[in-house]
């Protein structure tokens, strides 16, 4: 087994971890699963840096671990402590059913990945393409089936992970400046979303996004 197929397996592991994330209503468990999945994607980026000989990917992998796998979960769990919300009961679909839907979506993304053109002179990248499309679907599924504002943030970040992995697979990563810009955006977005969550909790005494359409409280 080569280093390349090992990196493919790690990419699939990241997708599986994010599917497992959909199966828990505990927000801390969700954050842990998100952190592990992000760390796995960073490992993929690091391995690809070694395989393709592109050192800037290594830098991005390091920044990903620090910002997205460590700082974001820590910051969001601090928000959870401040607003004292630890559980998301879910909406639309029951939580275990949502997880099983995630697997069906993973199968669909395998079929989609087979139809995409392979990168030029590339190795077979079906594994990581499947993983990236599946991460996109899983993030969307997570945002659709959850109630709390923090879950929306985590789902959004999962989708962002999918886009990063897709770029890494298909275009061997973006230029360093673009990736750094995206990471900065994520950093700011999470900060603002955290502040807004806190404000919503303070003014409405709940962070249930399905009830935000009410004009009066």
């Amino acid at each position: 087994m080569t280093l390349f197929s090992f990196s493919e397996a790690v990419a699939l592991l990241a997708a599986i971890l994010s599917v497992l994330m959909v199966g828990s209503g505990n927000l801390r468990t969700n954050l842990l699963a998100y952190a592990l999945s992000t760390a796995a994607i960073a490992l993929v980026a690091g391995l690809r840096a070694g395989i393709l000989g592109e050192s800037h990917l290594l830098l991005i992998a390091l920044a990903m671990v620090v910002i997205k796998a460590l700082w974001v979960p820590w910051f969001l769990s601090r928000i959870l402590d401040r607003i004292k919300v630890y559980f998301d009961p879910g909406t639309v679909l029951a939580i275990p059913i949502a997880m099983h839907t995630g697997i069906v979506l993973m199968g669909i993304s395998y079929l989609l990945a087979g139809r995409l053109p392979l990168p030029v002179d590339g190795d077979p990248v079906t594994g990581s393409t499947t993983a990236s499309i599946s991460l996109l679907f899983t993030g969307a599924l997570f945002m659709l089936t959850r109630k709390t504002a923090v879950s929306q943030v985590v789902g959004f970040l999962t989708m962002e992970n999918g886009i990063f992995l897709f770029a890494l697979t298909m275009a061997r990563g973006m230029p360093l400046i673009v990736e750094m810009g995206v990471l900065l955006d994520v950093l700011v977005a999470v900060m603002i979303a955290g502040l807004i969550t806190f404000k919503i909790q303070k003014s409405f005494e709940h962070i249930d996004v399905t009830r935000l359409t009410d004009l009066r409280e």
Binding site: M1, S5, G23, P96, H100, I103, Y110
Partner: protein, 308 residues
């Protein structure tokens, strides 16, 4: 010949040693001294020498089921590939193993119902629900492995002969995770059932064997220990095959690794039983959903592997 000798020793020593190790490790993790490592052996021989008390309402089935369970558990231990050095038999079919597992559950439920005590009935109804939930995970993950091996013969499926690809790594590791999670539920271990509690209302396995005593209880405990080590070993073999996609150790190293993997699972079980609380009965399906998810992933991976 050495295979047979080693396997016979493992078959005699490992089941009670596994139970003893779990109890000892758990006690140490909870800052207790704990029973000696060989306590299950002592218990077994003590129980064999005791007088047996059978309920007046029980029929011949009550004692028959204990013996039938032990025979089935032994048969399963002989055909399921739970150690890498297990000698190969003629009739190692996947579906035979699955139906034997179901038959084993059937006889333990029958024994619990036959004594006519209300606790036995409680336990039996819960065990029936649990096995209904867990069975898809076990069947799907083993079927996924059969699909990538293109054979339902357990000896062929778990042989270290075929080349292993990325698909195989995914299937083996997810199938192993599914089997481990399912075996925790099936063997009434911690997240689903507390094996040490004395409150019969909350238990599954202990409530079912509450009417057994003396030699009957000894047989029941031996059958349970065999089931435990066989299920852990089976999940462990899946993980070893996943490892086999990356490195290719010698046969003797494989034997040591398969023992180490069982020990690792014992350690995980002891850790889980120390830090996790028992799930409320209505939330058990949420736990089993994880096992089924892993099994579905394994099945999906296997089918995708066949398609390409």
């Amino acid at each position: 010949m050495t295979d047979w000798l080693l396997f016979s020793i493992a078959l005699i020593v490992l089941p009670f040693l596994t139970v003893g190790t779990i109890r000892l490790l758990k006690a140490r993790l909870q800052n207790r001294l704990g029973p000696p490592l060989l306590q299950p052996f002592y218990n077994f021989f003590k129980l064999l020498g005791k007088e047996e008390v059978v309920s007046n309402d029980a029929s011949w089935l009550f004692r028959f089921c204990a013996v039938a369970n032990l025979c089935l558990a032994l048969f399963l231990a002989l055909i399921l590939p739970w150690l890498s050095f297990k000698p190969v038999f003629l009739i190692e079919d996947l579906f035979l193993a699955i139906y034997l597992l179901a038959l084993l559950r059937f006889f333990s439920i029958l024994q619990a119902l036959d004594a006519g005590s209300p606790f036995g009935g409680f336990g039996a109804s819960r065990e029936a629900t649990l096995s209904l939930l867990v069975e898809p995970a076990v069947v799907l993950s083993l079927a996924a492995v059969a699909v990538i091996a293109r054979s339902t013969d357990l000896g062929d499926m778990f042989s270290f002969a075929r080349p292993h690809t990325l698909h195989d790594l995914t299937v083996w590791s997810t199938a192993g995770a599914a089997l481990f999670l399912a075996s925790l539920a099936e063997l009434s271990r911690m997240p689903v059932d507390d094996p040490t509690t004395h409150l019969e209302l909350t238990m599954v396995h202990e409530a079912m064997v509450i009417e057994s005593s003396g030699p009957n209880l000894a047989l029941v405990e031996l059958a349970y220990a065999l089931r435990l080590v066989v299920m852990f070993g089976l999940a462990g073999q899946c993980f070893i095959h996943a490892l086999f996609c990356v490195i290719h150790p010698q046969t003797s190293t494989l034997a040591i690794i398969s023992l180490l993997v069982i020990f690792a699972m014992i350690l995980i079980t002891a850790l889980v039983e120390t830090v996790v609380v028992k799930l409320r009965w209505t939330r058990v399906p949420e736990y089993v959903a994880y096992a089924i998810t892993m099994a579905l992933l394994a099945a999906g991976g296997a089918i995708m592997g066949r398609m390409t």
